[in-house]
Structure formats: structure tokens, C-alpha cells
Symmetry: D4
Subunit: 149 residues, 8 copies
């Protein structure tokens, strides 16, 4: 049994690496995937498609162009994954993480949320459709280990 | 032509009523729906199902129980709608609004976002999958009027 | 807002009538449906299709023939409902109720389970995929009333 | 031709091992999968996610948490299988087995039931949606052998 | 409860009328539909689209053109029906009836076959995916009456 | 029997009105729908959503914004229709008509193409997935009349 | 590019072997599959599941039991194939072949029919949903070779 | 991470080879696919299936027969791809490219359009459903490189 696990959400801490390394040490048969997690690269993903004659270097359309390029990757990976882990940190809006959770829910695809206790209430809809809630990386890893028994 | 329009997101201002009333004045053939928008009722939706023998009056499981009851309504209405309008205000986390957007996107169901310019960047993934972005209620109403021409 | 609610499970008590009458008294906009709940009629549904030349008056094939006729009704109604209420009583195997729950889960269709506390453990998978668990009819009615607010 | 076969149901006898070993001796090209079948591990799957501040060591929410973790595995495997074998023994409620059968039926995925003659009647809905009914392991193995000819 | 019932197959006897009239006398809430059952009209459905410059008055392409026009109607009605009744008579190939049965089966849509005992064997795959087999019109009507109880 | 018919393609001649009027004279039970067919309105659909601070009055993003608003209407109507009629005239690129044809084909939704003989070859892929090809409005009307017999 | 090709229909001539051998000689990258084509084995597929206490050695239920076992194989293979070839010979009813064609059509899965000119008319609905019609094995092989260019 | 990329549209320039070679030089893990791009072979794909007795050497039915054979390949490859690149050149009608775009859109499958600025307006519906628009091959390659980071 192999699992494809998509890691969604916060990009400012190294939680992805922690999960991946712990699972490797346990020799779990998991293929991990995620969005491009370099913030600057992600924001400027669409800049090379900038149109010569329009003033779109900043603002809505610049973001729009980058977001849609990133969506080509994230849609493909989410639809191919078995399980997602969706991380909410303590900074920024992180609406993309909640968006991914809704996307998974509509596809009937299970996900684990990873966040601290102090944001239980605002995340109640996201947690309500989740299959598990973890507060730290170790719990996620233990859950994945259990799933692969 | 009739449209079923789901109104998702912010519950602390009267944007829903403004849209509904403006559309009624224009005599547009639209059936509107939304989650239960009374904050206290929504939070306590599951309290009547409280188990006698467990200490779940507060915390994760209380929220969980309410969130899943609310989801029975929101899932049903989102899946039945033609178009959603998803509002992000300037307060609170509003992860449920982003969750609804992801849910719509996975179902290939069009939605309009409604938010001010200052949150373009954190909403870029949500806007990237939207069919339109409006900054005020009037623009939403005009767009709905156009769609029903 | 109207709800189509399918009532699945136990046929030896009048829980269906209790729910329907209570909802009517509250004037809730709900269309209820269910399997044929007369036990003898349900068991003999296929007898009129009995083949002249085979000994199938009893046993597997008699049950099979009736079960598939009943399934034409239940499949149609479950696929058309918005929400199911699935009742487990204290007698009989009631595997058909659990089957309906699995059917709903695979279709991503929300359901409420209705059962007493003493069978929480054997129903944990069925409850795990449910949107709510109620222990009495009044709780179901209150939940439906809330959903239609 | 390779088959992915999911083995669902009873965990108190060694019917899974019997099928797997017999198929290996016949050199059949089958990948078998199943839920975690260790009863204690399965029941306590969610304990490591226990919340510090709530009294959920027992009862509904403990079962709920474990059931949803187990569902991440079973959903993934059932959706990936070609055929399921669903076993009903002579003890316990086994509602999870009937739930899996309903899940398969809704996905239009064929399954074989495995049970003795004395529970034909209560299983008639589950058998009505099955592609075959076997009374012993040998019949299941012979059927799988035939399917791979 | 209302049923949409599609009547497929044999067009050389009046079995459709018999079913419709019997159901009307019983006041059953059924909307019946079917292909165009006038043989000549059906065969020549595409003639008005005949191309001026090609010799397609007869043969494969004439049949092809008519078949695809008829398919617009039959596809639409089959996909909208709740249940199909599929009749095999004692004359002609009737491959279109078997085609409709396969179409229903793939959509997980229940159907009743209606045919005499002497063609059980060649129809075994079609009957294998059916929810019921009837040998005369009366049995079909009784089954429909039961389904609407 | 009622048909929902979506009329896609050319907006510079009155073929839509001709079909609608002819069907009305024949008293056919058809609900017609289409995109907004006023060229200027369609092109400027998104202008009211123009952002204050960006130079997007012309070019790609202006078109993009309008196209996505129009798509909210066309997607909704195409997904709700039973049959589409897709018209290719002798002017302009008309890629949106071919796009609608591909959209219908992927949804397994039948459509009739309406175009003259001189563009048979470049339309061969579009016609290859069509259920009928008509060269004039009268043929379309006759086909619709036949479908509703 | 690899193709999975399902070979459906007539089992009394060696057309399957002819196609497979010709494709092997051309070194085409195709994985072929089919039902169990030994007539006696296919008819008796379910005999090992015969119930001790019922008289079902012959007739409807014997056929039914075998047909559903065979369906486990054919459903799995048809749903996994890219393209089907469906052969109609000059003997027997061959309703199973037409059933498979309908199954493919509902899944939007392309198929090639293989039959002589004298049965064009009774096969017009089956051909109407096909992507190609061939009259001999050589044409099928050439078509497959073209598809893999 | 591997991507399956379908290259659709213009067949008169070597844009496919340019993309494939550039991606190979960058060692990107991409499997490319496309329709048969030899114009004459594509047009005559169905000629070997020509019927002896009908005059279909030219015209609608010849094109129809070839188009449906080509569709077996293109449908299979589009449904299997992760991302499509759809190229519009400056010659010919290229309705098949727009058809492929619509097909992708209905399947919720992302695509990149590749065309010059002078056809922005007639392609606005096709671009409106796209995830990116590129004006030259280099931009496509850079986008693919980014997606595989």
C-alpha cells in the first residue's frame, strides 16, 4: 500500500520537511507533493507571461495570472492525491489553505487539518469536513504511520 | 431564465439584504439562499444533540457538532445553486468563505467574489478560480442583472 | 427552501410517523420518503414474478427477487433526497440501514443517525460518516427545523 | 490481468489469510487490501489525537475520532479496488461491513458476500446488490480464480 | 412520489399501450416516455437532412443519420427516467433494446426486463444487470404499483 | 415531453429568432436559451467591474473579464439544456461556437450543427461529435419537431 | 502511447486471436482483454456457488448467477479499457454484445463495431453511437495501427 | 512529479517539436501526446473503412468517418492528460482546437493557450476558460518548467 499525500497551506515554517523526513525515517511508502512553496517564485509565477502593452505589473491581474498558473499544479496534485494534510499557522490569511480544504471536501477526498487549539473556532467548518485534526507534526506522522499498517 | 444564487461569507454586515432587495427592485428572477446567518444560532446549532455523559459543552467537539449540522444545509444549497457570491469582509478569519469557494471550484460551479482591493493578494487563489470579482454590492447586482438579460 | 428527506431503517416502531407529524405541526417544508415499510409486503414484493418452473418459493432467490424490486424504489428515493435519517433500533440485524448509510456516504449525501447510546460502538463507522447523531425523534425534528430556518 | 480485491468485514476469524494464502498457492495475480484488522489498534486509532482539555477518553467522540481515521484508509482502498469481498460472521453487529457494501453499490463497484445460509434473510438487501454470494472461503477463491482466467 | 418510466424495445406489439392504460386505470403517478415507435418514421428520421450531392439515400449512412437523430431523444429520456422497462419480443434482432439496457446499467439506473421464458439464456447478461424480470405486462404493472405504494 | 434547447454560435443573423418563431407556430414544447447575443453588451459585460487603478480598459484583461462573466451564463445554460444547436456562419472566427460544441461533447450532451456545405471540412471534428448536421433553419425545426413526437 | 482494448461479442469464431496476432506482428503497444470466451465455462461460472437446498440447477437463476459473476470481470475490464471492439457474427442473439456497446456509450468510451453489411439495419442504433464500423479483422487492425501512430 | 501534456491545434508549423525539444533539453519529466499531425493521414484516416457500395469517397461522410477515428485517439489522450497546450496559428479555421478547449473546460482540466496578440478578441471565450495564455513557445516551456519545480 502506497499513499499520495498532498501538503497544503502555510509556507513560512518547515512543517513539510519535518513530516517528510519523519516519514522517511519510518520508511513509510508515501509520495508527498505540494504547491511551489517559495513565496516569491509563487507570486511571480505569471510574470513571464506579462503582456507588452498593458500595465499589469502589479495588482489584481498580476496576481490573477500567477494564481492560475499555480492552480494548474495544485489542481492536478490534489486530484491525484489520496489524502491531504492542510496546515494553518498563526500568521497571514491563509485562504488558499481553506480553499484547498473545500476542494477536497467536494471531491469526497479525506484530509487532516494541522493547527493549534487557539483557532479551533474559526476553523470549525474546515475541521467539520476533515477526517482528523492534529496539533503538531508528530501526530500527523503517527496518523500516516497508522494508515499504512 | 431563473438563477439560484448562494450567498456565502461574511455575516456581520447586511450585504445579503442589500443584494436581495436591489434584485427585487429590479424584478430579477433569482432565488437566493445562504447558511443560517445568525452567529449565535449557527454556533449552537448542535447543542441540542449534546450527549448527557460527556463534557463537550465547549471546545472542539461542540464546534464540530455544530459545523456538521450547518454543513448539511450549506452543502445542499451550494450543490443546488447555479452561481455563488462569496463575500470577504475586513474582520475575522472567514475560512468558511474560502472553503465554500474551493467547494464550488471543484464542482465546476461559477462564483463571484465580493471584497475590497486591499485583500487582493491574500485572496489570489480564491479569485483565480472565480468568474468575477466585485468590490461593492452594486457591481454584484449589475452582474446578476446582466446574466439574466 | 424545501428539503427532501429519506427515512431509512427500523420498521417495527412508528418513529417515521412521529417525525412526519411533528414536522407537519411545525409547518416545515419537507417531502418525506421511505422504503415500503410493511414487513410482509416488502418480503413478498417479488412473489408475483415467481417463475412457474422453479422451486424458488423460499430461500435465497425469493429474497433476492424481492430485495431487487425494493432496491428500485430505495435507490431512486435515496438519490433524489437531500438528507437521510437512518434509524437503528434495538432488534434485528438492520444491515439494510447500514447499507443505506454507506450508499449515502459514497454519494457525498449527508445523513443523520438516530439510535440510543448503547450501540455507539458498533455503529462508529456509520456515525463517523454521518453529519449528526440523534438519540430521539425530538432531536431529529429540532435539527430539521434548524436546517430550514 | 490483475485484480485489486478489498476484503471487508469480520475481523475475528482468519478468513482473510485463508483467501490470501489460497490465492497465492494458485499464483493468482491479485493485490489484496483491507482495513486495519487488529481490533484494539482500530478502536484506539484516534487516541493519539486526543485533546488535552476535553474529557473524550471514552464514548461517542473517542469512537468518532478513530472511525474517521480508519475511514481515510478504507475509503481510499475501496475506491481503488476492482472487487470487494464482504464477510458477515455469526457474531457482533457488523454494521461496518454492510456500510462498505452500500458504499460499493453506490460506486457501481462489484462485490461478493461471504456468509452462511442462516443469515440470508437479514442480508437480503446487501445480497441484492451483490454480484455473488459465497458460503465458504473456497467458493470465493474459486470465483476469483475464474475471474482471472 | 412520482416515477418517470422509460419504455424501451419491441415496437411491433401494443405492450406500451397496455402498460400505460393499466397504470392509468390504477391511477398510478407515472410519466411514461419512449422512443418514436412508428417504424417508418424512425427509419426515415434523418432523411430530411439528406445531402444534395451524395448518394446516401440507402445503406449505412442513411441508417446512421437516422439513428443519431433518434439517439438525441432516447439518450435524453433515458437519462431523465427513474426506471426503464425493456421489452424483448420474439422477432427481429432487437439490439437497440439490449443497447438501452447496457446504457442504463452503466448509469446505475434500474430496469425491468419483459420477455418470455424461452429467451432466458441469450438474455442472461441483460437480465443479470436488471432489477426484475417479468414475463407479461400484468407483472410489470403490478411491480410499478408496488413501487409507488 | 419538453426540451431545453441551447442556441449557440453566430450572432450576426437572426437564425435564433427564425427557429424560435417556427417552433412557436408549430406549438412545440421547447424552452430556448442562449448567451447574451448583443455584441456590444457581450463585449463590455465586464466593464462595470473595471478596477480603478489599472489600465485594463482594452486588451486581454478587458476581454478576459467579460468572457468570464458571459461564461457564468453560458455554462449554466449549457449544463441545463437537453440539446444544443450550434451555428457556424460565413464570417468571423466563431471559436466560441466550437468551444461550446467541445463542452457539450465532453458532457455527453447531444448537439446539432447548423452550417453550409462549404465549411464541412474545417468543421469535421465538430460534426464528428454531433448528432446531426443541418444546412438551414427549416431542417433544424423539422428535427426538433420529430424529437418531440 | 499504449492502448487498452476490450474485445466484446461473438465467441464462436477466432476473430479475437486474429486481431491479437496481427497486432503483435505489427508490434503495436496494445493490452487486449475480454470476457471468458469458453462457452461452457462461462455458462457454468456460477455453478460452484449453487445452494444446497434449492432447485436451481437450470433455468433463470442458474443463468443469473453465472451472468453476475461474468459481469464482475466484464465491468472491470470495460471500465478500464480505452477502446472496445464489438463483434456481431451471423449466429445467435448476441444481446450481450449490444449490452456492452450501450455500456460503453453511457461511459462516453469509444468503440468500433465489427460486422458484415447484411446486418447494418438492425445494428443502426449500436453503430450510431460507435466511432467506427469495420467489416473485417484487417480493417480493425489497420484502425488500431493508425490510432497508435 | 510527472506531467502528461496534450498538444492540441495547429499542425502546419513545428511548434510541437520546439516545445518537446526544449523540455527534453531541460530534462523535464513530461510525457507529450497529440493527435496524428500529418494532414493527409488525418484526413484519410477512415478511407480504409470505405463501404464498397456507397459513393462516399468525398464530402461529409468521408470527413465524418475520419473525424470519428481521430476522435478515438484525441478523446483518449485528452482525458488522460494533466494539462493541454492549445495552439491557434494565423491560418485556417482551427475549430478543432477550440473544440478541444471546450472539451477540457467541461472536464475541469487546465489548459494553456498559445497564440499571438492579434487574435485575443475572437479567442476571448477560449482564453476565459484557460489557466494561462502564452504568445510564444518559450513562454510555454518556462511555464511547464515552473509547474514541475
Amino acid at each position: 500500500m502506497q499513499l499520495n499525500v498532498y501538503l497544503s497551506g502555510e509556507i513560512h515554517t518547515d512543517w513539510r520537511d519535518q513530516i517528510i523526513q519523519a516519514c522517511q525515517m519510518l520508511d513509510l511508502n508515501i509520495v508527498f507533493s505540494s504547491a511551489v512553496t517559495n513565496h516569491d517564485e509563487s507570486d511571480s509565477a505569471g510574470d513571464l507571461l506579462k503582456q507588452a502593452n498593458t500595465d499589469e505589473g502589479q495588482g489584481y491581474w498580476r496576481d490573477h495570472r500567477s494564481a492560475k498558473i499555480n492552480a494548474m499544479r495544485t489542481k492536478t496534485l490534489i486530484e491525484a492525491c489520496d489524502i491531504a494534510v492542510i496546515r494553518f499557522g498563526d500568521k497571514y490569511k491563509q485562504w488558499n489553505a481553506a480553499f484547498d480544504a473545500g476542494y477536497c471536501a467536494a471531491l469526497n477526498k479525506p484530509y487532516i487539518t494541522l493547527h493549534s487549539e487557539d483557532i479551533i473556532h474559526p476553523l470549525k467548518e474546515v475541521d467539520g469536513a476533515a477526517h482528523a485534526w492534529a496539533t503538531d507534526v508528530r501526530q500527523v506522522v503517527e496518523t500516516l504511520r497508522y494508515l499504512l499498517k
